[in-house]
Structure formats: C-alpha cells, structure tokens
Symmetry: C2
Subunit: 198 residues, 2 copies
Amino acid sequence: MRTPTLEFWFEFASTYSYIAAEEIESKADAAGVEIIWRPFLLGPIFAGQGWRDSPFNLYPAKGAYMWRDMERLCRRKAIAWRKPSVFPRNGLLAARVATALDAAEQLPAFVRAVYRANFSSDLEISEPSVVKDILRSLSLDEEMIFGRANDDAAKRLLRERTDEAKRRGVFGAPSFFAKDELFWGGDRLEQALEALKE
Amino acid sequence: MRTPTLEFWFEFASTYSYIAAEEIESKADAAGVEIIWRPFLLGPIFAGQGWRDSPFNLYPAKGAYMWRDMERLCRRKAIAWRKPSVFPRNGLLAARVATALDAAEQLPAFVRAVYRANFSSDLEISEPSVVKDILRSLSLDEEMIFGRANDDAAKRLLRERTDEAKRRGVFGAPSFFAKDELFWGGDRLEQALEALKE
C-alpha cells in the first residue's frame, strides 16, 4: 500500500498557517501520513473576493479576536509568538523560494523558519536578506536558490499552484486536502488526517 | 463557591450555532459549568461590516465549504442534518421568543427545537405557526409567549443584547464568553470551558 498523503496549503502571511506548520509534522508522523507542502498566495484569492487587504484588517472585530486567539493558542501549544509589527507581510518572495525548493528535504525546515521569522522574531520576510539568512542557516546555497526562485519557471509554478488552489475551492489558509476533500483551518487538521484512514 | 458560567451567544440562522446548541449542555454539565443562553441577531452586526447577506452567500467558495463541512461534522457527531432549502432563514421571530422565555427552564429545549426545525426538518422558522408548534410541543402557552415576544420589552431587550454582543467584540456565531473572554466558533467550546477552570 502507498503511504497516504495530506496536502498542506499555506501562505506565509497567514497567522494560523504558522501554527499548522509547527504542528503538522508530528501529527502526520503519528498518523503515518506523508505531507505534500504547497506554498501558495492568498492575495489573488482574496482579490477575487473583493478584498484588497487581509480580512483581519478589513474587519476590525475579527482581527482583534484573531490576535487574542493566536496569543492563547500559541501559549496553549507552547509555540513561540510575538505579534508582528507589520501585518500582513508580503509572502511572495518566501513563497517563490519555497516553490523553488519544492520537494527538497529542507523545505519543511525552511517553511517553519520563515514563519518564526515573521511571527516570533518580527522580521521582514519580504526582505531578501532575511530569507537568505534562513537559507544559509539551513546550509543551503542562498544565491543558487534565489536564482531558481526568481526564474520564470518558479514564478509560473507558484501562479499555477495558486490557480489550482482557487479552482479546488480554497478560500483561506491553512487548507488541507485529504483524498481531494478540502479541510480549512488548523482546527480541521486532525479530521483531515482521520479522513485518510476511512 | 459559585458555579462557573459560560455565556453562549447564538443566532438562529447560523449553521454552526446549531451544532453548538446540540453539544453544549452535555459538555457544560461534564465541566460543572452553567450556561447562560443569549439569543442575538447577526444581521445588524454583519450590516456593520458592510454585509447585507450571510458571508456564506456573499463568498461562494466559503459557502460551498461550509455546507460540506456541516454535512461531515453532523455525521461525525451524529447530529441530524438536512441542508435547508432557504438560507439564511430570518431568525428574528425565534430570537424574540427565546428572549421572552429568557431564563425559563424550557429555553434550551426551545432553542434546540428551532434549530432542528431549520436544519433538520427544513421548516420556515420565520413562520409563526412553526414557532407556535414548537412552543406547544414543549407544553408552553404559545399565545401568552407570543404576546410577550411581540411586546416592546422583549424587542428592546433583544436589541440591547445584540448591541452588547457588538460592543464586546462578537462578529459571528456561535460565540462564547468565559470570564468575559471571547471564544468564537464551535471549535473553541472546549477551550472556553477550560478557561473557566484556570
């Protein structure tokens, strides 16, 4: 039998995706499930809904709640957390780099490091120097990978994946697909993993 | 020591509030917590966010997901479910009746019966006859209660509660308050109950 796979669709600007990125590997391991990491961009999807900013900025009550909820969830789950001084940060560069890394074994560590830079160290993840530091800390060749990330192939692949997300009904992040069935939000991670057993 | 209390704020048009209404009593009982039932109206709160309809209708991808999620959740939790032929149904009348019942011991049974009418029997809960049938089935005097529900005092109290919800940061339903701390969504019910123990 093939190892069951869970698709994990994430956006680097997304607070709740950060928690999912921190939790998904141990939970997937425990369930005997392989993760397919899928960076994508929420911007074009939100734009299609008429939003030019994060809904957490557009709807202040929803935003105020999200910040409080993140603080509570991270404390509960022992995940490092500092409210970023800029929100949302532009995740395009990090998403291109993640797309260029694709199935590399360092991809999960890269993803987590970018999220921690954004949501624990309050660093500007749209700055090339920040992303290069992360690549170097993972013993990756930052110039070579930046070359690939800025190549048309990586840009096109990221656009295609964002289009794919939209086509398959994704409207927020994190999103998971289990056997092509969509689960939205970190609160559905367990259910998505269970769906693979059915 | 006083029994800890959890405020449960619900809107009769809200699908996820239905699940919360079905689950909250056994969970609160197990936690030794008393529930304060707070019917309110999402309409004025959504209108304040610029929405003239349910976000599940305004944002079709979000809506399609919600219907699938409800189907899955209700199956998982063994809660009766039929996708209503009209959504959202106007919950004003039922909310006025619930407000008129206020702390009556039949209030929880009334709330559940209205939700089941809407989301399991596909009945029009804005129809007085439907709500009167529910009151009669609970051995309540439907004419007397309708008199109270249509009285200015009940109308004013419901408006005040909706204003209170908005003032305290409520932006969706179900919402819970534990020690004045807001928790949004059925997925946070357990955390809200736990917060009362801290």
